[in-house]
């Protein structure tokens, strides 16, 4: 899948922003006055920049408001609603803490729950797509939720929780890669099932001489050869470096900032890979993914 910068920025920044909102909503820590203002500027800054960025991948933005209408069937619609609802609730909770120095705990809990649900809806947009087997697995929502919570723990200065969540994130990401590499074979789509032709099928001629929307958007292959190196970089920046900084140097403002920046950089690489490595089954019609399906097509009865 094409790794659009707008969607990578969105899921990286808004994931961390909602993570911070979750911790602030739970009262971890309870902040009031000026300190609260700084915390909420960071949290709302990240989520709002992320959400605005996601609007840039729309080709017809004037109809974006309609995306609030289909919450009964569409995860993307649910995400749009949940994002606004959690921002409004957390905005009220934040306003009371910043301006009235009052903490309305139940409002915060509700805001935290909605923020968590927003991250879940984002993950389900990808998880629901059977046509992209790498995403279509239960580790995808677990990955998004763990990543968001780990980012939130780092940003909110919950050192010990952050260490535990970062370690968990490392395990989840490794599992997602390991399982993701196998999902295409498990779903079982091959050029033979795509065409239902009997025998060994090879693409002989494409339908068009140039690229088209489908090949640009869904048959993205560039950069896959660096995937292993990028996985190491992602894991190093996202998990290993923040863990080392926190464990060896302790959690305070400077180490916290280094850990957060490293985490965000690693997360962006991980999200780039999340898209760039995802193979869409439509690629089969264009002769792609032969290397993945080579083994499974031999099992297909000819």
């Amino acid at each position: 899948m094409h790794p659009a910068p707008s969607v990578i920025i969105f899921s990286t920044l808004s994931g961390a922003g909602f993570g911070l909102l979750i911790f602030l909503g739970l009262g971890l820590p309870v902040v009031e006055g000026w300190i609260a203002l700084v915390f909420y500027l960071i949290a709302f800054g990240l989520t709002v920049i992320g959400l605005l960025s996601s609007v840039f991948h729309l080709k017809n933005r004037k109809n974006a408001w309609r995306s609030y209408s289909q919450w009964r069937s569409s995860w993307l619609s649910r995400e749009a609603l949940a994002a606004v609802a959690s921002l409004v609730l957390m905005g009220l909770y934040a306003a009371a803490q910043v301006f009235l120095a009052t903490t309305i705990a139940p409002l915060g809990w509700l805001g935290a729950a909605l923020s968590l649900f927003t991250v879940y809806t984002t993950s389900m947009i990808y998880t629901q797509l059977r046509a992209v087997p790498r995403w279509n697995q239960w580790a995808t929502p677990v990955l998004f939720l763990t990543a968001s919570l780990a980012g939130g723990a780092l940003l909110s200065g919950n050192g010990t929780v952050a260490i535990l969540l970062l370690a968990l994130l490392g395990v989840v990401v490794l599992w997602h890669w390991w399982k993701g590499d196998r999902r295409f074979g498990e779903v079982g789509s091959t050029l033979e099932t795509a065409t239902r032709l009997e025998g060994r099928v090879k693409l002989w001629e494409k339908p068009h001489t140039g690229e088209n929307y489908l090949t640009r958007e869904m048959v993205y292959q560039i950069g896959r050869r660096h995937a292993v190196k990028l996985r190491v970089i992602a894991m190093g920046l996202m998990v290993v470096l923040p863990l080392l900084v926190l464990l060896l140097l302790g959690a305070h403002h400077v180490t916290g900032a280094v850990a957060v920046l490293s985490y965000l950089a690693g997360m962006a690489v991980q999200r780039w890979l999340f898209f760039a490595e995802a193979e869409h089954v439509v690629g089969l019609y264009y002769g792609a993914h032969g290397n993945i399906t080579a083994n499974s097509s031999e099992r297909t009865p000819a």
Binding site: M1, H57, L58, K59, N60, R61, K62, N63, A64, R66, S67, S69, Q70, R72, S73, S74, W75, L76, S77, A80, I125, Q128, L129, R130, A131, V132, V187, G188, S189, L191, T193, A194, T195, R196, L197, E198, G199, R200, V201, K202, L203, W204, E205, K206, P207, H208, T209, G210, E211, N212, Y213, L214, E217, M218, H280, V281, V282, Y285, Y286, A302
Partner: protein
């Protein structure tokens, strides 16, 4: 709501005969022509005389098939929206632009409501949906909904443009929900199949597999002897007369 209808009264769709398709791309051009000049935003091209790219609702791939025995075959493979019963492209739509009609099962996009997020194209395993880069909205096969019910057209033309134009009769249009329709009988007779059944989309469009091609007649290719062989066999196994002398002379050189 972009929920799917529980059931549709009809299941209008196409039956595509991979045996007779000659890969001429006439259906591609007829589709682009009709759908550029009629319903909805036109199907645009970008840099048509350079690094060309554009929107098409119907595309023809060509495949080489190597059977277990015998020579390879070329199969031309037209592909457009399959108007799936369990269409994943419909339920993912956040704006309500994507829908499946309860009366005839046609999957359509309400272009006035589409925000061009492209999620429906991601959800489709078949690559049946493309965002038009000029209009910024999702385009897909409408089964020529503006032809098939159009009483201003002569009755013979009330078919999708691709079906109407196909010179080899490889495309058939009808109600696949009615077991007695011509298309349903054709599917039953020829063993029509779903594309990517493992994706659980329950496509309405059906593909008729290619028949076995005429066998090559050379006995060394087939192992069989042609029925004309006794008449086609050389009259004399050994050359006679001058040729016999020439053959011998050349042999001795």
């Amino acid at each position: 709501m972009t929920a799917l209808p529980e059931r549709t009264e009809k299941k209008l769709g196409l039956v595509i005969d991979l045996d007779t398709c000659v890969g001429c791309h006439a259906c591609v051009i007829a589709c682009k022509g009709w759908n550029t000049q009629h319903y909805g935003a036109p199907l645009s091209d970008q840099d048509a005389y350079g690094d060309a790219s554009g929107t098409f609702l119907n595309r023809i791939h060509s495949y080489q098939v190597e059977p277990e025995h015998g020579a390879s075959q070329t199969i031309h493979f037209p592909k457009s929206c399959l108007h799936c019963e369990d269409a994943p492209c419909v339920t993912v739509c956040p704006t309500g632009a994507s829908y499946k009609r309860a009366e005839d099962g046609i999957v359509l996009v309400n272009e006035d409501a589409c925000m061009g997020c492209g999620l429906c194209a991601w959800a489709c395993p078949y690559g049946a949906r493309e965002v038009d880069m000029a209009a910024g909205i999702m385009k897909k096969c409408t089964l020529c909904v503006d032809r098939i019910y159009n009483e201003n057209l002569p009755e013979a033309d009330r078919q999708p443009a691709c079906v109407r134009t196909c010179p080899s009769g490889a495309r058939h249009f009808g109600d696949l929900g009615d077991p007695d329709s011509d298309v349903s009988r054709l599917v039953a007779e020829r063993g029509g199949v779903d594309l990517m059944p493992e994706q659980n989309t329950k496509p309405v469009n059906q593909y008729l597999p290619p028949r076995l091609k005429d066998r090559l007649q050379a006995p060394e290719m087939t192992g069989d002897e042609d029925i004309l062989a006794p008449w086609l066999a050389p009259v004399a196994e050994e050359p006679q007369g001058f040729l016999k002398w020439l053959d011998g002379a050349l042999e001795r050189l």
